[in-house]
Symmetry: C2
């Protein structure tokens, strides 16, 4: 199943707002439907949003073929559906650059972007799986955090693409998925994806990760990155750093899988990154159920920084950087 695709003249997406309770495919035949789906977070994740942007322009080119002014407005609506989503605007711009060549040229460009994302994910999966087997042998037991799978991409994803590839190769000993408070992407999305893949796994609360490593139940940690700094520091979902400390103490590899576009040589190190605090509401409740007394304050950093000396290797779609062997970005 592809998270987002072009099927018989319309965009189809897996509706992420319904997961994990219901697996629902939404068929979006108009630009307006697609913009609404993006705004409602029915489709999310940088690679998937890039493809959504490009396919949105393809929809606009068909829908408003006879009305250039409305077409232009529709392209702008796609591009700005989520202001902070860099990939969305980039994908829309790339497809829009072909508008003068006609609607088929626009669609071809959008499908090319989709195929590039699929190829990137496959490359990350292959390189990641190769490295895991090299470091951990033929039945690696892995711990992963947050959601790094197909739901953020078209298929595959990043770290979860490597997990899926190991499973296909028969080289996976099992997975621990940490639930990833506060938004529980591990429990909701990764668990759903692993079940779709038929991968044997167990869910755990985040704080159990380091102990499961100490107890000898994990051979390596494998997860994604939101940004990789010039010195190798990794900015990723809150909880990543705690798992890295656990891996170091247990003497097991800590592996980061992310597309080359995540490497940001303009940021010297993690200290230079401003970490977003997403406010108390996410901490104080879960899916409408309150977890604490009302009016309690919270601190809620969305990401943390894992210093490069705790990272064994960074795997991108193009290369493997063995930080543990002194290799640098």
């Amino acid at each position: 199943v592809r998270t987002i695709d072009w099927v018989d003249g319309a965009v189809e997406i897996v509706d992420q707002t319904a997961l994990p309770d219901v697996t629902r495919v939404l068929r979006l035949s108009t630009v307006e439907d697609l913009v609404d789906a993006i705004r409602r977070l029915a489709v999310r994740g940088a690679p998937a949003l890039g493809v959504a942007g490009a396919l949105g322009v393809a929809l606009a080119a068909r829908q408003y073929a006879a009305d250039p002014a409305r077409r232009e407005a529709a392209v702008a609506a796609v591009q700005h559906a989520r202001p902070t989503a860099v990939n969305l605007a980039r994908g829309a711009r790339r497809a829009a650059a072909r508008l003068s060549a006609g609607r088929d040229a626009v669609l071809t460009e959008a499908l090319r972007l989709r195929d590039e994302e699929i190829a990137s994910s496959a490359a990350q999966g292959r390189l990641g799986a190769d490295l895991v087997t090299e470091l951990c042998g033929p039945a690696a037991r892995l711990l992963t955090h947050c959601n790094t799978g197909a739901l953020a991409a078209v298929v595959g994803g990043t770290a979860l693409a490597a997990v899926a590839e190991l499973h296909r190769r028969g080289a996976l000993g099992g997975v621990v998925a940490s639930e990833t408070r506060p938004l529980l992407q591990g429990a909701r999305l990764t668990a759903w994806e692993l079940r779709q893949l038929g991968v044997p796994f167990r869910l755990a609360v985040d704080s159990a990760g380091p102990f499961l490593m100490a107890r000898g139940e994990v051979d390596a940690v494998i997860l994604g990155a939101d940004r990789i700094c010039a010195n190798g520091d990794v900015v990723n979902k809150i909880g990543t750093y705690a798992h890295a400390l656990g891996a170091q103490r247990a003497g097991i590899p800590f592996l980061v899988v992310a597309p080359e576009s995540t490497v940001d040589t303009g940021t010297p190190d993690g200290a230079a990154v401003e970490i977003e605090d997403r406010g108390r509401d996410e901490v104080l409740e879960f899916r409408g159920t309150r977890t604490a007394p009302p009016d309690v304050d919270a601190v809620n950093p969305a990401f943390d920084v894992t210093p490069y000396d705790l990272v064994t290797a960074i795997v991108t779609d193009r290369r493997v950087i063995r930080l543990d062997k002194g290799e640098r970005i």
Copy 2:
């Protein structure tokens, strides 16, 4: 407010099943009411259950003064209300040993146990607060985990008694309470207690602890223990070990506060302790709200082991053991 006490001929407890939404005091005038409250976990925590056991026998001595057979049955019912609660049975036996001296003697013994628990908590609070100020200066910012406060004791508690004492002394810079998945004792109980005490605090997801330490927002970690092994290894609520790793990397003290009765010299080290797995339900839902797809497997160790080399000091009601200085139990 005392979590459990003897008031005008009956036992009064703060009903913990209603927290944090409602603060309700239950008045238990009969042995049957008390046994029911213990079974429903309306009163919990080793010290509180010890006092509940003793006061339950005091209730039995009054209620069945004229009927020794029914009195004996009532004492047994108190003693076995929760089979694994060592302190409950111990408290009941201690008060029951005075039955032959009459009901006032029984009550006197029960109140003596209550007062001993209050004194123990006060001593832990004083010694803990002294150590925090010695190590962190006059405005320590502390991170705590799980619930170690009055709700498990009569007043005060263990680590939270030290936090409260620092607050009374004006020597507290603030508290981060980690929510403590899966049962959220931090979010539900510690947050409630800190608010009652007027202590400034922020709640955080468990996995944020190590990062907040790395970012310089925490001066020391202070928490309790379920068991302290002969070599100094600390068995405590899952998540404790991850915080200890964070404290070590950040170079801040990691302090354990627990009554002397927690020290178990019969257990050589943490590896000798069997860690209870409490099953998947706690991980897969919270208060009836599901967090993951149905039929997902989970691993749910209730406790973890923090190796003694990560522990700066253990504080009991009688002494301070500076493991960081080579002192041993």
